[in-house]
Every structure is written in C-alpha cells, then in structure tokens.
Amino acid sequence: MNHKIEVKNLYKIFGHQPERGIKMIEEGRSKDDIMLETKLGVGVANASFYVKEGEILVVMGLSGSGKSTLVRCINRLIDPTAGQVIVDGTDVVTLDEEGLRKFRQKHFGMVFQNFALFPHRTVVQNAEYGLEIQGMDPEERKEKAMQSLEQVGLKGWEDSYPSQLSGGMQQRVGLARALALDADIMLMDEAFSALDPLIRRDMQDELLSLQDKVQKTIVFISHDLDEALKLGDRIVLMKDGFIVQEGTAEEILTAPANDYVAKFVEEVDMSKVLTAESVMIKPVAQAHSETDGPRAALRKMEHAGISSIFVRKEKKLFGIVTATDAAEAAERGERSLEKIMIQNFHRVSPDTSANDLFPLLAETSFPLAVVDENDRLKGVIIKGSLLAKLSEKRLKEKELI
C-alpha cells in the first residue's frame, strides 16, 4: 500500500520568531521550558508519520497535546513553521494560495468537532457547499449532495435547517458535506467528541461501514482510547506536541513506548479491574487425546476455523496442537496426537487481571488457556477477543454513568 500522506519533521511553534523554538526543541528542551524562557508555544514538535492509502489513522492525545494543530497543518488551516506534508507526491507546505485552494478542493474533506455547519443554509445547501465553490452546476451538485445525504441516512431532511436537527444528525450533515466532495482524504477533528456516548457509538459504527464502501484515507483526531481502538488501523499518540508512539492498537496496549503511554493506556483502561474469567471466550472446539488422532483434530480445527486446538486428557488440559503439525502428522500416517503436542503455552487462572494478560499475549502466537485449580480448561483468550471485550465493557459502563 502507498503512503497517501507523509509528514516529515513537522513543527508548529506559536509566537514571535518561532525559529528559536525549533532550535530549542532540537536541543532537547521541553514544551514548558521553552514557554518559560521565550514565551513561544510549541504546537507540534518534530512530527513525522505516514498514513497509508485507505486506512484510518487515529491521532490520540489529551487536550493541549497538539493533535488538532497537527491535523490543521496537514491541510494548512494552520501554516507549519517547518517541515513537509507530502500528499500524493506534492508538498502541501510549498503551495501558493491559489494552488492550496485547488488542492484542498481536490483532496481534503474535513469534519469538525462542533460541526461548523452554516446556519443560514439548509441541510442540502450545506452538503453541496464544497461543490458549489468548485463551480459545479446547480443540478449536478444537488444530486451529488443528495447522494451523500442518503449515505449518512439523512434522506428527507434536506430542506431543514441545521438548528432543527439533533447533534448526531448535525454531524451526519458535516460528514455528508465532506463526503460530497469526492476528496480522497478525510480529516476528522474530534468529529464525535461532542456527541453523547450512545450516539457516538452509532456514528463510529456508521463511519466504519461507510469506510468499507468509500475507502477514504482518514486522519481521525480523538482524545478517547476506546474510539482510537475501535476506529484506528493505526494510532499515533501525542504529548506536548511530540509524537510519543505510533503503532497498531495492540502494539500500543501491549508495548507502551514510555511511561506516559503506559499511564495513558492505564488511566483510561478498565483492564485492571477485569479478570481473565470476564474476558475469556468459550473454546469453540477441543480435542481428546484418548480418542482423537491428527486427522480428527485437523477436521475439528477446520470446522471451527481455528489454527490450533487445545487437547484434553482425562478431563485435564494436556497440550495444544497446531493445524500445520496435525496435517504433517496425518501425512506421515500417525495415529496419536502425543508426538506433536506442544506444552509451551500459557496457562492463566480465572482471576488473573486483564492487564497481566497483554504481555503474555504479546509473546505467544497461541491463545491463552484459562484453567481452574484442577487444570480443567475453562475458556480461552485470543488477542482480538480481549480488545473487543474490553471496549464493549467500557462502553457499557459509560452508558450506565
């Protein structure tokens, strides 16, 4: 996959003679330090990252971490102090005013935290704004705007004014306005943060299913770990203008790059109070060492769609067998599972905290076996299910509050 957006050594320093700030950052000074000494505000400090075509990149950080500044540097609503923003091989930073205008029209759709709908225009007039300023003729742009309103489920509301809609519906208009453009990149600045939790979850689901259809390159700003885990193909974590970690949700959860990331993950992480028992799933299939041979085990794995299977012996957990090994053993004509049995997997007790499960999951390619004191298999934990359970539980708890 191509790198649709490539940001290289991007700086945004607010204040007089911002170049002084760059030098101080290069010397390793902190944001507060620079503020005290020079009154310069560090927005973004030496940020480099890329966004692949068709992926959702979530930029996450607490307020004041520079994430909104960063996304505004990409379409130059804020002019960066130094650095490059390369989109499809064009350095956006070097464009002149007219060139930038055309570039924005072609490439960038943007969705704002507080919707930023035009109050004097109807829903459909809002949705067609981007096309209108490109000079598209009225019939054609209305048709396109109606299509994108239909995509976000607002058919029938086109002649209402934004003030007549609920928050969630207003943001759908915001989304439709960005979609109607046919731009290949969507910049979403805390797009769902102003919505209440239930609506937010709906909108997240909807964005994901929309994304399946339209395949845009999306840069999504959020301060919410759940949202990042749910939406992000990859996550960039920011603090005080610096990018502190970049990676998939699992990489960030399982291998925090530094204390800040760890704390961020921990602070917003319910995994401390969750135990293995509450996040495990029922094993979809098990093999019995007394009765099953490689062929039967393979068949069970194929049937359940898994690549390894736990083996029981006299009701106790005995070992694990992979599909590859089972297939080879079957070729060789072996009858028993004993020879290909692997013992090198993790057993955890039902009350192990979910926090301790992440490192275990990170170092093994097998599922974790949850066993009781009699070594009986109670359930299994796989990476995907752990993350899914976590975010599901956290959302439920939020709704209760």
Partner: protein, 280 residues
C-alpha cells in the same frame, strides 16, 4: 505661552481653502446634479395627491413588517402630518434621508468589509470613526457650504459624514463575529476570499449590518433636521423657522412630524433586520 498658538485652526482652514480653490468646481457640479436629482425625487413623490403616497407608504410598511399595528400607526401618523399641513416638508425630509442613507451605505458597508479583513485598514479607519462621531455635528456644516453652496447637497454631505460610522462599525463587527470555526470550514473546503465573504460572512453578518443601517438612518434623520441651518428644507426647516419666529406651537408640530417619521423608519428597519436573521 499666550504669544504662541499652535495653528491648528489656521492650517485646517488653509487646507480647506486649498481644496475649495482647486476642486470646488467639481463639487459644485456634483452639487448641481444631485440637487436636480433631489428635485426630481421630491416632485415624483409629490406628483400625485398626498393620500396616494400615504397609502403607498402604509402598504410598504405593512408588506415589510407584516404588522397590523405598524400599518395602522403609519396610516394615522402620516394623515396627522398631512393634516398639520406639513406634508411637503415631510416628503423632502424623507427624500434627504433616503439619499443620504444610500450614500452612507454605498460608502460605509465596503469600508466596514475592508476593516474586517485587513488589520491595517482597521487601524486606520477606527480612529477616524471615533473622531467623526465625537466631533459636534454642527461643525460638519461649515466646510460643506464652500464646497456645495447653501442648500440640500451641503446638507446631504454633512449628513453622510455624520451618519456613516455605525454602518462601517457594525458591518465590521458583524463580519468579525462570524464564528471562527465556520470560517475555518469555508477555508478547509477551498473557498476563495470572495466566496467566503458572499456565501458565509455577509449572510451571517446581515442582522448586525441591518442594525448598523438602522442606526445610520436614525442619525441621518437627526442630521437632516440640524442641516436646516444651512438651507436644507423639510421638517427641520419648519423647526428652524419656528425658532426664528418664536412660534412654539408650530415648532412642536414639526417636531411631532419628525418623531412620527423616525418611529416608522425605525420599526420597519428593525423588522427587516430581524427577519433576515439566520435560524441559529
């Protein structure tokens, strides 16, 4: 100390004299044209029987505001003015106000837009406005005479200067008050400056701009009355005559006429401004 006097007055006078000597032929020509214009406007307005114009204005007031109350008030008020024998001066006052306001808007709104988008022009225009607004209105009458001669055009000139500041100020304010995220959104979709101005900033600023125009009209009305001193006719002229002849009754009648005109204009403008308010 008393020997030396900074020659502020002298230098202003010298400047004005210079302009009068060199440019008065232009302004005098302009005065002639405008004066003819005013005469035509007044004669059109008084061409038919007063009752026709009264009904027309009443209908217009009702059409613009959709308010029965204002319609009735307009009808009765104008009939009273007619009854007091003040119809002709009222028409010429209205004509002066309309023309001055038109000039004030044509000059003021673009200046307001300019001040809102350029910091430099903001810094130049605002102190001048402060100066214009605090200077006693009478002072504008003096230089108007050598440029335009006694009469309605000199009155219009000083009225435009006196009434323009609110139009500039509130246009500028209205545009600056457009929420920055809306401006950001317009930018993000690649709007040009003109598109941003006409599709976003001006529509959203309209209620504020209309409030400014309302103030401009009210100031124009008060100035047109004062300008009677330099030969503008109209209701102000009636008041001026009453002062000179010590006729308090006649003076009050003309004063009531001015109040009626002011209320009608103010109410109409308020409704028009309120109606164009976007649904927020």
């Amino acid at each position: 100390m008393a020997d030396f006097r900074i020659p502020i007055g002298d230098s202003i006078e010298a400047t004005i004299d210079f302009f009068v000597d060199n440019f008065a032929f232009i302004t005098k020509a302009f005065a002639e044209v405008t004066e003819n214009g005013i005469e035509i406007l007044v004669s059109v307005m008084t061409f038919s029987h007063p009752i026709v114009l009264i009904l027309l204005i009443t209908a217009l007031a009702y059409y613009l505001t959709k308010s029965y109350g204002l319609g009735v008030f307009t009808l009765l008020g104008l009939l009273l003015i007619w009854n007091m024998g003040l119809w002709d001066p009222t028409v010429s006052t209205l004509a002066l106000v309309l023309i001055s306001t038109l000039f004030a808007i044509i000059i003021g709104v673009p200046l307001g837009i300019l001040a809102s988008i350029s910091t430099i022009s903001y810094r130049i225009i605002m102190p001048i406005l402060d100066f214009m607004q605090t200077m006693p209105a009478f002072v504008y009458l003096i230089p108007a005479i050598p440029f335009f001669g006694l009469g309605p055009v000199a009155a219009i000139f000083s009225t435009v200067i006196f009434s323009m500041p609110p139009a500039i100020r509130l246009t500028c304010l209205g545009i600056k008050q457009v929420p920055s995220e809306l401006v950001e959104a317009a930018d993000a979709f690649g709007s040009s400056k003109a598109q941003k101005l006409f599709k976003l900033q001006l529509p959203i600023a309209t209620p504020t701009i209309m409030a400014g125009i309302n103030q401009t009209i009210m100031l124009a009305l008060s100035m047109v009355v004062i300008a009677a001193m330099i030969g503008a006719k109209g209701l102000g002229g009636e008041v001026w005559k009453a002062i000179q002849r010590l006729q308090p009754g006649r003076g009050f009648e003309a004063g009531i006429g001015i109040v009626i005109v002011a209320i009608i204009l103010d109410r109409i403008m308020q409704r028009v401004g309120g109606k164009s308010k976007p649904a927020v």
